[in-house]
């Protein structure tokens, strides 16, 4: 009987040599006349162990990692096909602490199933949410999503059900469902992992959204930096169409829903929903005024539900197991689970999906194991390039939307980037302004011009030029950007700058000041 070996095709695993490992296993198996079936799964999210390969054995799936192609002969020698001992062995995958202690709802199949296989998806609970939704009215589906407490996971944390309800109530012959897969926030990769590791769950979630609001066309706006996700999504869409899960008559229920992947152009601003819609319409990705809300006048002027990948991928499990099942996870007004992405200077970077309520310390010290460099943690940026820098003294902040707002930060898309004590926070503040200058769409003057002036003022402060006066100027500029920008780019780029100034003022002392100190 053939033995199944899982070698991830996740872009992160590929970036560390997974392709060579897969071919080494296949050729070594041929050489030894071993009957091996290689399945290319997604990543389990234990990136410090990637490429992490798994073998299906009588004791379940057993993990080995990080495996390089040259390790393969010794793995065969150690009889890894039957779970044999080896220096890279980690025992049963399900028993690895990092994974075992998580609460994987949205990510329950990522790294487990073959992302190209619809049968595998269905065998692991896939399309049960859609089956339930097909027997419900649009109002009932929307009510279920409202009751689950699901908030937008893209960053703004707006209740998904309210967006859906607004779109449902808008009357139009044509409506759209748009998935925001422009995962531009640095330190985040949850969307990518879902699209590469479990693409059908996104298709299912979007189909349910379409049924709920009465939309017949969906678009996945995918960032051009994600070619692997593009291939995975396009293959899954073709498979779902062939099986009748997409098309003119979804599952024979008489409703139409079609889906198309559209590639972005490398503009960060297109992760902002109105800018994304402009881009989908074939224009410059410039931010729109709101109102009108996209749910009322969105893509091509029609009512549009626009949600992030994780939000839409969380819908099937809510429809399958009920709103209460999902809502029972979490704390306060943050219900359900959040896939947190641990990145930057950490021993064990990866994906941790858990109910809201863990502290930042649980994540970076517990799961993350502290810094990779072994030096003390100095700052943690949560929520992407527009997120505040959090000092080590605030590591006990719980993962909760409101708790982060209370300390002047934001959870955003759940990206956590850790810096050790070698970081220069004035340089990070400068980078935040520089990034804003590069990526500004140009619509609002405070963002377009203020960001460039911000870089210059920080340079003057660091050079020791009228430091106090320039700091007042910088803070004033930040307030102008916060108050005078339409969207989060200009409105939040000052957060990392101000947090760096507030928590790490010593880094802004110019070279001359430092010499005098």
């Amino acid at each position: 009987m053939s033995v199944t070996v899982y070698v991830p095709r996740d872009a992160g695993a590929l970036s560390l040599g997974a392709e060579a490992v897969a071919s080494a296993i296949a050729s070594e198996a041929r050489r030894r006349h071993a009957d091996v079936r290689v399945v290319r799964n997604g990543s389990r999210g234990l990136f410090w162990l990637e490429p992490l390969i798994e073998v299906e054995t009588s004791m379940g799936r057993v993990a080995y990692g990080p495996v390089q192609a040259q390790d393969v002969p010794s793995l065969f020698d150690a009889d890894f096909l039957h779970g044999g001992q080896h220096a890279l062995a980690h025992g049963p995958t399900a028993d690895i602490d990092y994974l075992k202690s998580q609460q994987r709802l949205t990510f329950e199949r990522v790294g487990v199933v073959d992302p190209r296989s619809l049968e595998d998806y269905r065998a692991h609970g896939g399309y049960r949410g859609l089956a339930a939704a097909l027997h419900m009215s649009g109002e009932e589906i929307v009510q279920t999503v409202l009751d689950s407490g699901l908030r937008g996971r893209g960053g703004a944390a707006f209740p998904a059900g309210i967006k859906w309800k607004t779109c449902l109530d808008a009357s139009s012959l044509r409506k759209y469902v748009v998935c925001n897969a422009d995962e531009g926030d640095s330190g985040t990769f949850a969307d990518r992992m879902i699209m590469e590791g479990d693409p059908f769950v996104l298709i299912e979630g979007m189909t349910i959204a379409g049924l709920a609001v009465g939309a017949t066309q969906g678009y996945i706006y995918l960032r051009v930096e994600y070619p692997h996700a593009q291939r995975a999504m396009e293959a899954a869409i073709a498979t779902a169409e062939a099986a009748g899960y997409l098309g003119d008559n979804v599952c024979g229920g008489g409703k139409a829903f079609r889906l198309e992947v559209r590639m972005g152009g490398g503009a960060y601003i297109c992760g902002e929903e109105t800018s994304l819609l402009e881009s989908l319409e074939g224009k410059r990705g410039q931010v729109r005024f709101k109102p009108p809300l996209p749910a009322i006048e969105g893509l091509f002027g029609k009512p549009t539900v626009i949600n992030n990948v994780v939000t839409l991928a969380s819908v099937p499990i809510i429809l399958d197991r009920g709103a209460g099942y999902y809502r029972d996870y979490g704390s306060g007004k943050s219900r359900g689970t959040l896939p947190i992405q641990l990145a930057g200077n950490l021993k064990r970077p990866g994906l941790v999906e858990h109910a809201f309520g863990l502290t930042l310390r649980d994540l970076v010290e517990g799961y993350g194991g502290g810094t990779a460099s072994g030096r003390p943690i100095r700052a943690v940026q949560v929520g992407g390039p527009l997120g505040a820098y959090i000092p080590a003294s605030q590591l006990d902040t719980p993962i909760d939307y409101e708790a982060f707002v209370a300390i002047g930060g934001m959870l955003g898309h759940g990206g956590v980037v850790v810096f050790d004590d070698t970081v220069d926070m004035a340089a990070q503040a400068r980078y935040a302004m520089e990034f804003c200058a590069i990526e500004s769409c140009g619509k609002c003057t405070p963002c377009r011009i203020g960001s460039t002036r911000g870089v210059e003022v920080i340079d003057r402060i660091v050079a020791g030029d009228a430091r106090e006066r320039n700091e007042v100027l910088l803070r004033d500029l930040c307030q102008t950007m916060i108050a005078g920008s339409l969207c989060a780019l200009g409105g939040m780029a000052p957060f990392p700058v101000l947090s760096a100034l507030d928590h790490f003022p010593e880094d802004f002392a110019g070279a001359a000041d430092k010499a005098n100190a």
Binding site: F300, N345, L351
Partner: protein, 166 residues
């Protein structure tokens, strides 16, 4: 009334560009919001979106040249000049910074003797900055023509470069 197709009003453009553009626009121009897919198609076919192609794309899409130019120049990904044989996208974002991307960037620029947005004298490599490749758990990261590389160091970059060299 049938729209007049008058090539004569357009500036003369190289035949291979005309053929490539018309192939892409013929295939895609009736899809909603077609301009980005068309620009991707042209860049996939030619390696860049030549200035010569703009009037033709504009005519086929019934847009002004300024509209098309505005869209091309808004997006970092679309190139207006040919790139080197290989394009290196090096991540500059925070997670990679935390793992030594600044040192890596300096090393690569020195090693290739170019700055961002430039191509080596022999036409082999173009270096572009990118702001996150979604490989933040394996920082620092870079992408070479769609192939992602993680946990890069100056040494690994040099090893890759030497393996690449003919």
């Amino acid at each position: 009334m049938k729209r007049a197709i008058d090539i004569a009003v357009l500036p003369a453009i190289p035949e291979h560009i005309r053929v490539a553009v018309l192939e892409v626009t013929g295939r895609l121009k009736d899809t909603p919001g077609a301009l980005l897919p068309i620009l991707h198609g042209v860049q996939d076919a030619l390696g860049y979106v030549p200035e010569d192609a703009v009037p033709l794309i504009a005519r086929e899409m019934n847009l002004s040249r300024a509209d098309v130019h505005g869209v091309i120049t808004f997006y970092h990904y679309f190139r207006q000049r040919p790139a080197g044989r290989r394009v290196i996208h090096l991540c500059r974002a925070e997670s990679c910074q935390a793992m030594g991307a600044v040192t890596l960037e300096q090393h690569i620029k020195r090693r290739l003797d170019i700055d961002f947005h430039q191509t080596t004298a022999d036409g082999a490599y173009t270096l572009e900055p990118v702001y996150c490749l979604g490989n933040c758990a394996c920082s620092p990261a870079m992408m070479v023509d769609g192939e992602l590389k993680g946990r890069m160091t100056p040494e690994r970059f040099d090893a890759w470069l030497e393996a690449e060299a003919p």
